[in-house]
Amino acid sequence: MNNSFPVVQNLKEKFGETKILDQNTRDEFPTIWTPVSHVKEVLRYLKYTVDRPYRMLYDLTAIDERVRYHRHGQPPSEFTVVYHLLSFDRNEDIRVKVPLREDNPSLPSIVDVFPAANWYEREVWDMFGVRFEGHPNLRRILMPTTWKGHPLRKDHPARATEMGPFELPDDKQEHEQKALQFKPEEWGLKKQSEDSDFMFLNIGPQHPGTHGVLRVILQLDGEEIIDAIPDIGFHHRGAEKMAERQTWHTFIPYTDRIDYLGGVMNNFAYVLAVEKLAGIEVPDRVKVIRVMLSELFRIASHLVWYGTFAQDVGQMSPVFYMFTDRERILAVIEAVCGDRMHPNWFRIGGLAQDLPQGWEKLVQDVLDTINKNMSEYHKIAMKNRILKARTVDIGAITLDEAIEWGVTGPMLRACGLEWDFRKKRPYSGYDQFEFDIPTATKGDCYDRAVVRIEEIRQSLRIIEQCMKNMPGGRYKSDHPLTTPPRKEGTMKDIETLITHFLNVSWGPVIPEGEAFFGIEATKGNNGYYLVSDKNTLSYRTRIRAPSFPHMQIIPLMSKGTTVADLLAILGSIDFVLADVDR
């Protein structure tokens, strides 16, 4: 099947049949294996030389293959590094895998080809102990520098109960605190210039402007930022490790907590990936309800951003208006899902419940109110001249820079590229809706705001169409892997009863294979890359979170600006720390 991909044929002709091996995946992405010796050349070729190139490093991760059973057709490997590239010209992805041996897991760094690889390689080193030769600063990124072991290796314990009791004697505490101290030399930063001493200022991890536990270390000359170093990992909870010991079904609530402002958006990407692995088709009603809930959450998330963005440039009041409106949306979400922020409402093959009676009125009321309020918000915030002075031409990035650094979502569209998964790769029936993809040109803080605000309006349009055209039918698929399965048949035939019993007590067994599914989430492209080993648990769950690469470009955006600008820039990125650290 893979032979149908021209790009794979092209690579085979270029590098030889023995150096490029195919693999079939459930998501039908071209997936190739290439040895360590060739990986850099292959990636360079894909980025620069190939026709309609793959310009974005979309994701970079690894798989510990040592206890994986179903690997037929794949070359031997104990640790596999996976590069995921995206081509905007082709609207296609390609996955490049590199097999590594357990005794010496190392391969060349590709930071000089894809600058965005910097943090991803640090993450793979941190989580798997895979070394990237030639990386400028290969150090832990999510775990504390004092951590022993590499958590996503299969032999690393997953629970505190497996690790012995936790103790914090004085000397250990002192040691840990010392390890947190910032040493400019380690980052190649100078302490003074020719005519002045630099000040190193910690913004965070406890700071109202960072919207969570983020630490940015600033090298300041007066108030001018010479360099900035984001330090992340304070919100790391090991979601990917948890996925390896939760059933496919019971992991859904954990996804809620990745981008905690996005609510069902997280469920969405995850269940779509699982459904792709399992081959489940869901009824139309499910599709439309999923779209409607997602768009409600998109508005709720954008409203939080809108208010806090104004707050970050010093405007006190808007945040109260926006949160009041968000509260209205959350009330609808609560009526539908029974929860506000962490709805845990999508299911593999369907939804937890049908819509409640009278939902139309609730949704309509919210639509009317927000439609009316948006123009007022525009007047109080976006038209304000001080706000413009603080955000226009601040933190601007070009389209090339955005692509180079893996930026997606509203930040990418603010640079002028109309790229939205809802249009480009319509999932869950988005192609049936009428809506526009707003873009801007400058890619500065103000343009990002413009794009997001227009997105709120477009989401309102989509929800309106959902309301008017809600199909009837079931809220769950008939597929046997739907979890929890439909209950109607259980008292009639023994097969249904047994499937129901097994799927509810043990959880469904998802067929072996690999699949990625990316959706247009609130902050950018959110994707789940799942590896199933034909078990009730996922073998490897990779969460491609949009905020992670966005965090990486803070130094790029803030060099040469001032402390006040940095806060405007942070506000304009719209990140959630749980989404960065997972």
Partner: protein, 317 residues
């Protein structure tokens, strides 16, 4: 004897009234902000929540009087007293009603400008003595801010002085019996209002404390009564600027029917509420933007104002 007694009554009356007003402003500001922001604000303690002021004061008096071990102790203690001292001293020259003034100085306006400039030291020294990077940035911003508005603040008042022919505030009020100076001196009023906002470092000119950037900036390290002094100092500063605007541009105590004192109070409250409304409405510019705004726009305008006013006054004479 009776004159001395009368004077003592005036001094303590104004002092007491001022401190009560400053404390009451805590409640007024919170309630007004809440009103404009779709919230309730403090509404539980006493009628309309007004006793929240007492609760706040009790809390602040009983807090530990903490001086960080790394701070420059003497300067750290002196800094908050400076702001209290200077704003109270400046109030001495404001005539509340005919004859009701603590200090009827001939150089009233100059005294006000001089003393309020000293008030800046409070912020700068607090930022320095705290020995905290955020506070230092706050102090630094304050000194930069001072450079940008001190110049045109003084100049903006000269038009009024030219028209009244006196630096004495009572004389200026009396000169407005027929026409408030806000009409001929509208430009001067606008410039002084902006400078006054910056002087009392409230939003949109709160760069020295900028809670979303510098986390309270120059007073990050302060707590208890020392913080309370900054707090009350800020509110007295707001009343001072409002009182000065009323005195210089809005005819001071003049007004029909009601007694002079009431007029003065009403006008002053109007401007205080305007200050609070601005705080609810505006974002915060960057401090270099304020600097260039001050030097490139407001300073030339203030100079122009003096020039035109002077020319017209000369021509009429």
């Amino acid at each position: 004897m009776s004159e001395t007694l009368q004077h003592i009554v005036i001094v303590f009356g104004i002092l007491f009234g001022l401190l009560t007003l400053a404390a009451g402003l805590i409640w007024i500001e919170r309630r007004l902000l809440a009103l404009w922001q779709n919230r309730y604000g403090p509404n539980r303690v006493g009628p309309f929540g007004i006793f929240i002021v007492l609760a706040d004061m009790i809390k602040i008096f009983f807090k530990e009087d903490w001086i960080p071990p790394f701070a420059d102790k003497k300067v750290f203690v002196i800094a908050p007293t400076i702001i209290m001292l200077t704003v109270l001293l400046s109030w001495a020259i404001v005539p509340v009603a005919p004859g009701v003034v603590v200090l009827d100085l001939h150089i009233g306006i100059l005294f006000f400008l001089a003393i309020s400039s000293i008030g800046i030291y409070s912020t700068v020294l607090a930022g320095w003595a705290s020995n905290n990077k955020y506070s230092l940035l706050g102090g630094m911003r304050m000194s930069a801010q001072m450079f940008s508005y001190e110049v045109f603040m003084g100049l903006s008042l000269m038009g009024v002085v030219i028209m009244a022919g006196s630096f004495n505030l009572s004389d200026i009020v009396n000169a407005q019996e027929n026409m408030w100076f806000v009409l001929p001196q509208f430009l001067g009023f606008v410039i002084f209002f902006i400078a006054g906002l910056a002087e009392s470092h409230r939003l949109p000119f709160d760069m020295p404390e900028a809670e979303s950037e510098l986390i309270a900036g120059f007073h990050s390290e302060y707590s208890g009564m020392k913080f309370g002094m900054f707090f009350v100092g800020e509110y007295v500063g707001v009343t001072l600027i409002s009182a000065m605007i009323v005195t210089l541009f809005f005819g001071g105590w003049h007004g029909p029917v009601l007694p002079p004192f009431v007029w003065f109070f009403l006008k002053m409250m109007f401007f205080i509420c305007l200050f609070i409304l601005l705080r609810a409405a505006l974002p915060r510019p960057r401090y270099d933007q304020l600097l260039s705004y001050g030097w490139k726009i407001l300073l030339p305008l203030a100079l122009l104002n003096i020039l035109v006013t002077g020319a017209i006054v000369l021509a009429i004479e």
